[in-house]
C-alpha cells in the first residue's frame, strides 16, 4: 500500500512536471536547438539561404540551429519530414517556389494547407539572358526574330512544369514560340548559353551573378511589373507588349500548420529581425533577392496564387 502510495505520488509529480513543461513551452520557447530542414542538397540556392539565415537566427533566438539537408522529390522529401515532425516550433523547413510548382504536377503528398509560412524572405523576378557574343542586342530584336522563326530559338530552363515553363508557354501563346530545353542541374544550365548550346537562358539574377559581373551574360528582358533597380536599362515584358503572369522565384521558411500561434509569432519576429541585419542585407544584395519579408496571411496567399497559376497552365 505504501508502495502504491509512493507510486501515485510520483505519478502526480511527473504529471505536474509535464503540465508545467507544457505551459512553459511558449514562455521559454526556444530553449533547445531548432532543426532547420533544408529541402534540397548542400550547395543550392535553398541551402545557402537556409544556412545564412540559420547563422543569424542563432543570435536572434539564442539557441543553436543545426541545418539538415533532406533532398529528394523536388523538395517534398524534406517537407514530408517537416510536416510529420512535432508542431512545436523545434523543426523549421525551407519551402521554395520550385516545390510549390511540383505540387501542381501531383508530386509529393504535401499541400499548401499543411504548412504555415513564417515569412517569404527572398523573392526575385527572372530575366532572359544571352551570352556576351550573341547576335541579339535588344529585346526587340529577340522578339522579332522569335516571331518570324517560331520554334527556332532555344532557352535553357530548370525544367517542364516550372515557372520557367509557364513563362515560355505564355510567350508562345502570344506568338513568340521558343523551345524549352530543360536542365535540372544548375551548373549545366548556366554553361548552356556560354558554350553556345542554347540561345538564351531563363534565370533569376542571383544565381548567375558571376556571369553578370564578368559580362558573359547580357540581360535582355525582365519578367516583372517594374524595372529592376540594379538593372535599370533592361526593359520589362510589359513595356514590350507581352501579357505575362508574374511568377517570381521565392524562398520561405515554414513550420507545420498546427504550430501554436505564439511560437509562430516568436519565430516570425525573429526571421523578420534577421532579415534586417547587416549580414543578411549584404547576402541578399549579393544575390539580388532583397525584399521586405512578407508574413502571415499575405505570405500564405502568395503561395496559393503561385500554385494556382502553375496548376492552371498544366491543365491546358
Amino acid at each position: 500500500m505504501r508502495k502504491l502510495g509512493r507510486f501515485a505520488f510520483g505519478g502526480v509529480l511527473v504529471a505536474g512536471a509535464f503540465a508545467m513543461a507544457n505551459a512553459a513551452i511558449a514562455q521559454d520557447y526556444p530553449n533547445r536547438p531548432i532543426e532547420l530542414v533544408v529541402t534540397f542538397g548542400p550547395g543550392g540556392g535553398a541551402d545557402v539561404m537556409g544556412r545564412q539565415l540559420a547563422q543569424i537566427l542563432e543570435t536572434e533566438l539564442g539557441v543553436s540551429i543545426p541545418v539538415t539537408n533532406v533532398a529528394g522529390a523536388s523538395g517534398n522529401a524534406g517537407l514530408t519530414r517537416l510536416r510529420t515532425s512535432p508542431a512545436d516550433g523545434y523543426t523549421v523547413g525551407t519551402l521554395i517556389s520550385l516545390t510549390v510548382a511540383s505540387w501542381a504536377a501531383d508530386i509529393g503528398d504535401n499541400t499548401p494547407e499543411d504548412f504555415r509560412v513564417l515569412a517569404i524572405v527572398q523573392s526575385t523576378p527572372s530575366f532572359l539572358y544571352v551570352a556576351a557574343d550573341s547576335r541579339f542586342e535588344t529585346a526587340e530584336q529577340l522578339l522579332d526574330y522569335a516571331r518570324d522563326n517560331p520554334g527556332e530559338l532555344t532557352v535553357a530552363t530548370s525544367g517542364y512544369g516550372t515557372q520557367d515553363d509557364v513563362a515560355l508557354i505564355t510567350m508562345a501563346e502570344q506568338g513568340f514560340d521558343m523551345v524549352n530545353v530543360p536542365f535540372s542541374a544548375p551548373g549545366e544550365r548556366y554553361t548552356a548559353p556560354l558554350g553556345g548550346h542554347t540561345d538564351l537562358i531563363y534565370e533569376e539574377p542571383g544565381d548567375v551573378v558571376q556571369f553578370l559581373e564578368s559580362g558573359e551574360y547580357r540581360p535582355l528582358l525582365i519578367f516583372s511589373e517594374a524595372r529592376h533597380p540594379e538593372f535599370p536599362d533592361v526593359p520589362t515584358s510589359g513595356e514590350l507588349g507581352l501579357n505575362m503572369v508574374y511568377l517570381n522565384t521565392f524562398r520561405t521558411l515554414a513550420v507545420p500548420a498546427a504550430t501554436p500561434e505564439d511560437v509562430v509569432a516568436r519565430l516570425e519576429a525573429a526571421v523578420v529581425a534577421a532579415t534586417q541585419t547587416d549580414a543578411w542585407q549584404a547576402f541578399c544584395a549579393q544575390t539580388y533577392t532583397c525584399l521586405e519579408p512578407v508574413t502571415g496571411e499575405a505570405a500564405q496567399q502568395e503561395i496559393l496564387t503561385f500554385f494556382d497559376a502553375i496548376a492552371a497552365q498544366l491543365e491546358d
Partner: protein, 506 residues
C-alpha cells in the same frame, strides 16, 4: 605576374602554419571518412561546412579541398583491406586490391594504391594550376550530347570489366538502370515506379545501394559462411614493397592519370566513371589484362590514379566558370557564397592570391596525402586482426549511419538493408553486383543527358553521331565494346563451327 610567380605566392600562403594545419586536418578527416564504409567524402564535406563559417574564405576552401582529396583516396583503404568500397569510386579497388590482400600482400596493395592516387591527384592539381583556362574552354565545348556519349562509354566499360560473361554483366547493368529510374524523373517531374509510396518519390540513391550491396551483404556472408575476413596466409612477410613495384605500374598510373584528368571536367559522377573506364582500358592494354581480377597491380593502379585525377580537374569549372559539376564542388561553391565570394573568371582578376593559394594547396595536399594515407591505412590494417563478429557489427553500424546520412532519410536505411540481402543472394548465385551499382549511377545521368539533348536539338537523335566530340566518343565506345567482346565472340564462333563439324552425316 606570371603563373609561376603567382603559384609561388600561393605556396607561401599554403605553407603558413595555419594553412598547413588546415590542410593536414582536412586530409586526415577526409581519409578517415572515405575509409569508413558508408561515410563518403561528400557527407564529410557537408558536415564540415558549418565549421568553415568562422574561417577566412581561403582557409575554408583549403579545408574542404583537403577533405575532398583525402576522401576520394580513403575509400580504397577499406576496399583493399575488407573488400568493402568506402566510396563508389573505389569499386575497382576491390577487384584487384582485395585479391592481393587475400594473398597476404596487403602492404603492397596499399602502397601501390597510395602512390597511384597521389600521382593521379598531383597530375590533376598541376593541370588545374597551369591549364585551368584552356581546360575551361574545353569544358564549355561539351554539351549534353557529349555528356551522353561519355556516359555511354562508362556504361560500355562494364562489358570490358566483366570477366567472360558479358551477357550476365549487361543484365546486371540494366537492372541497375531500372532501379535508377525510381522516383520523380528529372525532366517531366513524373513519379515512376513509386507504387504510391511517397518515400519512393525521392528515388533510390546509388550510395545507399552500394552500401547495401557491398558492405551489408559482406557481413551477411560473413555470418552465413562463418568465414574469417583475415587472410588465410596472414600478412605475407615477402610482400615487401620495392621501388620496382612502382616502376612496373608506371604505364597504368600514367594512363589512369590522363583519363581521370580529362573525365573530371565532365559534370555528374566524375570519379566513379573515371575509375571504371580506366580499369576497363587498362584491362585491354595491359599484357596481364586477362588475369585482371586476380590481384594484378596494374589493375589496382590505373583506377586509383584515375579517380584521384578527377579531383583537380573537377575544380576547373568551379573556379574558372563558377559551375559546380559534382556534389563535392557544389559544397565548395556554397562555402564560397556564404563568405560572399563568387567564383568565376572575375575571381582570377579580383583575388588571384586566393585562387593560386587554392592551387598550391591542392598540389601540397596530394603530396601530404601519402603520409595521411599511410597513417590511416596502418590503423585500418589492425582491423584485420579484429574478430569477424566485432568487425561485422562495426561495418553494419557504420553502414546504417552512412545510409541515413546520405540524405538524412530513414527510408534509405530500409533500402540499404534490402539491397544487403539482394547483394548477398546475387553473390551466392554468381551474379555480378558491380555493374548494377554502375547502372544506378550512370543510368539516370544517361537519361537526363539524352532527353535534354533531344530537346536542345529539335528531337533529332543523329546529333549524337554528327557532333564531332560526341561522335568520336561514341565511336570509341563501339570499338571498346567490340575489342572487349572479341575473345568471347571468337570462342562462340569456334564452338559453333565445331558443333556443326561434329554433326553426323556431314
Amino acid at each position: 605576374m606570371s603563373t609561376f610567380e603567382l603559384l609561388g605566392m600561393g605556396f607561401q600562403n599554403a605553407f603558413a602554419l595555419s594553412a598547413l594545419l588546415t590542410i593536414v586536418i582536412g586530409l586526415m578527416l577526409g581519409v578517415i571518412a572515405g575509409a569508413l564504409p558508408g561515410v563518403s567524402f561528400v557527407n564529410a564535406m557537408a558536415m564540415a561546412l558549418p565549421f568553415t563559417y568562422s574561417m577566412m574564405p581561403t582557409q575554408a576552401m583549403l579545408f574542404l579541398g583537403a577533405i575532398y582529396v583525402g576522401g576520394v583516396f580513403g575509400g580504397s583503404i577499406s576496399a583493399i583491406i575488407i573488400n568493402v568500397p568506402g566510396t563508389p569510386a573505389s569499386l575497382p579497388a576491390c577487384w584487384d586490391g582485395y585479391p592481393m590482400t587475400q594473398r597476404g600482400e596487403v602492404r603492397r596493395a596499399l602502397a601501390v594504391a597510395i602512390a597511384a592516387s597521389a600521382i593521379g591527384g598531383l597530375t590533376s592539381a598541376l593541370v588545374l594550376s597551369f591549364a585551368a583556362a584552356p581546360f575551361a574552354t574545353f569544358a564549355l565545348r561539351f554539351s549534353q550530347p557529349e555528356f551522353f556519349a561519355a556516359t555511354v562509354l562508362g556504361l560500355i566499360s562494364v562489358i570490358a570489366i566483366s570477366k567472360d560473361r558479358p551477357i550476365v554483366s549487361l543484365l546486371s547493368l540494366f537492372l541497375g538502370m531500372v532501379i535508377g529510374t525510381v522516383g520523380v524523373d528529372p525532366i517531366y517531374g513524373v513519379a515512376r515506379f513509386t507504387f504510391g509510396v511517397p518515400a519512393m518519390q525521392s528515388g533510390i540513391n546509388f550510395v545507399v545501394v552500394m552500401i547495401g550491396l557491398f558492405a551489408i551483404s559482406e557481413v551477411i556472408d560473413l555470418i552465413a559462411t562463418n568465414r574469417d575476413l583475415r587472410p588465410s596466409k596472414g600478412v605475407n612477410v615477402q610482400s615487401k614493397v620495392t621501388l620496382r613495384d612502382f616502376w612496373d605500374v608506371r604505364g597504368a598510373i600514367f594512363r589512369g592519370s590522363a583519363i581521370g584528368s580529362i573525365l573530371g571536367v565532365i559534370p555528374g559522377a566524375g570519379a566513379t566513371p573515371g575509375a571504371v573506364i580506366a580499369y576497363g582500358i587498362e584491362k585491354q592494354v595491359s599484357p596481364d589484362g586477362d588475369k585482371f581480377g586476380t590481384g594484378i597491380m596494374a589493375g589496382l593502379a590505373a583506377p586509383e590514379a584515375a579517380k584521384n585525377a578527377t579531383t583537380g580537374s573537377a575544380m576547373v569549372p568551379l573556379l574558372t566558370l563558377g559551375i559546380p559539376g559534382s556534389a563535392a564542388t557544389a559544397i565548395m561553391l556554397a562555402a564560397m557564397m556564404l563568405h560572399g565570394v563568387n567564383p568565376g573568371p572575375l575571381l582570377f582578376l579580383n583575388d588571384p592570391t586566393m585562387v593560386y593559394t587554392i592551387f598550391a594547396a591542392m598540389i601540397l595536399a596530394n603530396i601530404l596525402m601519402i603520409f595521411a594515407g599511410i597513417g590511416v591505412a596502418q590503423f585500418f590494417s589492425t582491423l584485420m586482426k579484429t574478430p569477424p563478429a566485432v568487425l561485422g557489427a562495426f561495418i553494419i553500424l557504420l553502414s546504417i549511419i552512412g545510409a541515413y546520412g546520405v540524405r538524412n532519410n530513414i527510408f534509405d536505411v530500409y533500402v540499404c538493408i534490402f539491397f544487403g540481402f539482394v547483394g548477398w543472394g546475387m553473390k551466392r548465385i554468381g551474379f555480378p553486383t558491380a555493374p548494377l551499382v554502375l547502372g544506378v549511377i550512370l543510368g539516370p545521368l544517361a537519361e537526363r543527358y539524352f532527353m535534354t539533348s533531344l530537346a536542345n536539338y529539335n528531337q533529332d537523335w543523329t546529333v549524337f553521331f554528327t557532333r564531332p566530340i560526341s561522335g568520336t566518343i561514341l565511336a570509341l565506345a563501339a570499338v571498346f565494346a567490340l575489342w572487349s567482346l572479341w575473345p568471347v565472340l571468337r570462342a562462340r564462333y569456334r564452338s559453333v563451327v565445331l558443333l556443326l563439324a561434329d554433326r553426323p552425316g556431314r
